[in-house]
C-alpha cells in the first residue's frame, strides 16, 4: 500500500540551515545542512525539502552547493525551491541534484513555467507550491505570494486545479493562517484542495505535535505532511510521528 509521507523542510540561507525563532525575521543558525539531512534520512524521513531563502546571487550559489552536497549524501528524494521563475532555474536545480523543483510565485505569474517544465523534465519533478489564506470577506481561500505578503484575489482551489492541468506532479500547500502557529494543519483547506485535484498533496503549515500529522493525513486527506520547526526544535521526531501514525493504522514506511 502506498504510504503517507513525512517530510522535514529546511530553510537554507547562504548555504546554512536556519531556524525561525518567534515571529518575523528572527533567525538562528540550525547547523550544517548535510549533517542534518543525514540525521533526518536515518530517522526515516521519506523525502527532504530545501527552500532557498537567500536574497543575493552569492547566497543562491552557496545554496546550489548545499543541494549538490545533500543530494550526494541522501538516498531519499530531494525537493528544492525558492525563487524559481524560469525553466533554466528548474534545469539548474535538477542538475545540482534536486529530484523535484518547487515553484510558487514564478509559476503563478507565469503558468507556462509549469507546462514547459513538465514537458521538458517530466511531471514528476514539478511541485507547485501554493500559499493560501482564508479571505475574510469572500469566505474562500486566496492565493498569497512572496511568503504571504502579497494577496492575489485568486481562488486557491481554482489555481490548484489549473496547476494540475498544466502538468504539476504534486502540490505543496501551505496554510498561511496556520503557518507558524503550531496549532495544527488547516484540515479544511487541505481536504478542499485534495478533493479538487487528482495529484498528491503535501500539507504544510501548523504542525506542532504528532496528533496534527495524524489529523491532516486522515481527515485532511493529504498524501504527505511537511514540517520544519517541530522537528528542528525536537518537539517531536520523524520516528515518533511515524510510530504514532503506525499505531493508528495509517500506512507509513518504517525504517528500523
Amino acid at each position: 500500500m502506498l504510504t503517507k509521507r513525512i517530510i522535514p523542510c529546511f530553510d537554507v540561507l547562504d548555504g546554512r540551515v536556519v531556524k525561525h525563532v518567534g515571529f518575523l525575521n528572527n533567525r538562528r543558525d540550525a547547523g550544517d545542512p548535510v549533517a542534518l539531512a543525514q540525521i533526518y534520512c536515518d530517522a526515516g524521513a521519506d523525502e527532504l525539502v530545501l527552500l532557498d531563502i537567500s536574497a543575493s546571487s552569492e547566497g543562491r550559489l552557496a545554496t546550489r552547493k548545499v543541494v549538490e552536497e545533500v543530494a550526494a549524501k541522501v538516498n531519499i528524494p530531494l525537493t528544492v525551491g525558492g525563487g524559481v521563475s524560469t525553466v533554466e532555474d528548474v534545469r539548474s536545480l535538477l542538475l545540482s541534484g534536486a529530484d523535484k523543483v518547487s515553484m510558487n510565485t514564478g509559476a503563478f505569474r507565469n503558468p507556462r513555467l509549469i507546462e514547459e517544465s513538465a514537458h521538458r523534465f517530466g511531471e514528476q519533478c514539478v511541485v507547485v507550491a501554493i500559499d493560501a489564506n482564508l479571505h475574510a470577506q469572500m469566505g474562500t481561500y486566496e492565493v498569497m505570494l512572496q511568503g504571504g505578503k502579497v494577496g492575489t484575489g485568486s481562488d486557491a482551489i481554482a489555481w490548484a486545479k489549473r496547476a494540475a492541468e498544466l502538468g504539476a506532479g504534486e502540490i505543496l500547500l501551505t496554510s498561511f493562517r496556520q503557518d507558524g502557529t503550531r496549532a495544527g494543519y488547516d484540515l479544511e483547506l487541505t481536504s478542499a484542495i485534495a478533493r479538487a485535484v487528482n495529484i498528491p498533496i503535501i500539507a504544510s503549515g501548523g504542525a506542532g505535535a504528532k496528533e496534527h500529522f495524524f489529523d491532516v493525513l486522515t481527515e485532511g486527506m493529504a498524501d504527505a505532511a511537511l514540517a520544519a520547526s517541530v522537528f528542528h526544535f525536537a518537539e517531536t521526531s520523524v520516528r515518533d510521528v511515524k510510530s504514532y501514525l503506525r499505531e493508528r493504522g495509517v500506512p507509513v514506511r518504517w525504517v528500523e
Binding site: 502506498l2 509521507r5 538516498n75 542538475l95 529530484d99 521538458r120
Partner: protein, 221 residues
C-alpha cells in the same frame, strides 16, 4: 566499468550518487561516438550499463535514436553486458508506449506501457511496498515482500510474459511491475537510487552481477 547512458533529459546526479554510495564510479556517455571510444581504448571492459530516464517516453526514444544510443543498447545486449533501466528507462525496454500518442520502444521485452486509470491519484508517487518478490533472482537478493521503494510514475508496464516480472507492487487496484528481468536485461520502475537501503541493496546486487565473468551468468532467469 559501469556506463550510464544519458538520454539528455535526465538528472543523472542521483543515479551517479547512488552508485557512488555502493562504491562504484560510473562513466556517463551521451552518444554512440563516446561509446565507440570507450570500447576501443578504455581502462577496462564495460561491465554494466544503466539506462536512467525521466521525462516523456517519446522524447527519450527520439533522443536515444538521434544520439545513436539505440544501437549502443543493441550492442550491449548482443555482447551480453548486464543492462538496467530505471523508471522511464525500464519502460523504454518494452515494445510500445501510449504516453502522449503511440511510441515504439527498444522492444527488448514484450509488453506495453499505459497510463494509470484516473480512479487512483496519478502520478503514483511515494513509498510503496513490494507485494511479490522473486527472491532467488540475483538482482533481488536480500530484498523481501513488504520492503518499501520510491515510485514516481504516471504510466506502468503491462508485460506480455508474467515471467519477466520479478517483483511487483500494488496501486489503484493494479498489480504494477516493479522489477523486470529477462536474461541480462533488467529494469526497476521505482528509483533504487532514491529508495533508501532497499534501493542500495538492489544497486549493489546489480553491481555484483556486472562483476561476474560472463560465463558465470547463465540465464535461467
Amino acid at each position: 566499468m559501469i556506463v550510464v547512458l544519458d538520454p539528455g533529459i535526465g538528472n543523472l546526479h542521483s543515479v551517479l550518487g547512488g552508485l557512488r554510495r555502493v562504491g562504484r564510479e560510473a562513466v556517463v556517455i551521451s552518444d554512440k561516438e563516446a561509446w565507440d571510444n570507450l570500447r576501443n581504448d578504455a581502462d577496462g571492459p564495460v561491465q554494466g550499463v544503466i539506462l536512467p530516464g525521466v521525462g516523456a517516453f517519446g522524447d527519450a526514444m527520439t533522443q536515444l535514436r538521434l544520439s545513436g544510443l539505440v544501437s549502443v543498447v543493441e550492442q550491449v545486449v548482443t555482447s551480453r553486458i548486464p543492462l538496467l533501466g530505471i523508471c522511464v528507462g525500464m519502460q523504454l525496454l518494452f515494445k510500445v508506449s501510449f504516453e502522449h500518442g503511440e511510441h515504439p520502444g527498444l522492444a527488448l521485452l514484450p509488453g506495453r506501457v499505459v497510463r494509470f486509470p484516473a480512479t487512483a491519484k496519478v502520478p503514483h508517487m511515494g513509498w510503496n511496498d513490494l507485494t511479490s518478490v522473486r527472491s532467488h533472482h540475483p538482482l533481488l537478493q536480500d530484498v523481501a515482500i513488504g520492503d518499501f521503494v520510491y515510485f514516481v510514475h504516471s504510466y506502468y508496464v503491462q508485460a506480455d510474459e508474467a515471467s519477466d516480472v520479478i517483483a511487483a507492487a500494488s496501486y489503484g487496484g493494479i498489480e504494477v511491475p516493479a522489477v523486470v528481468g529477462r536474461g541480462l536485461v533488467y529494469g526497476t520502475q521505482f528509483h533504487p537510487e532514491k529508495s533508501g537501503k532497499v534501493g542500495e541493496t538492489i544497486l549493489r546486487n546489480f553491481v555484483r552481477l556486472t562483476e561476474l565473468e560472463r560465463s558465470e551468468v547463465s540465464s535461467p532467469w
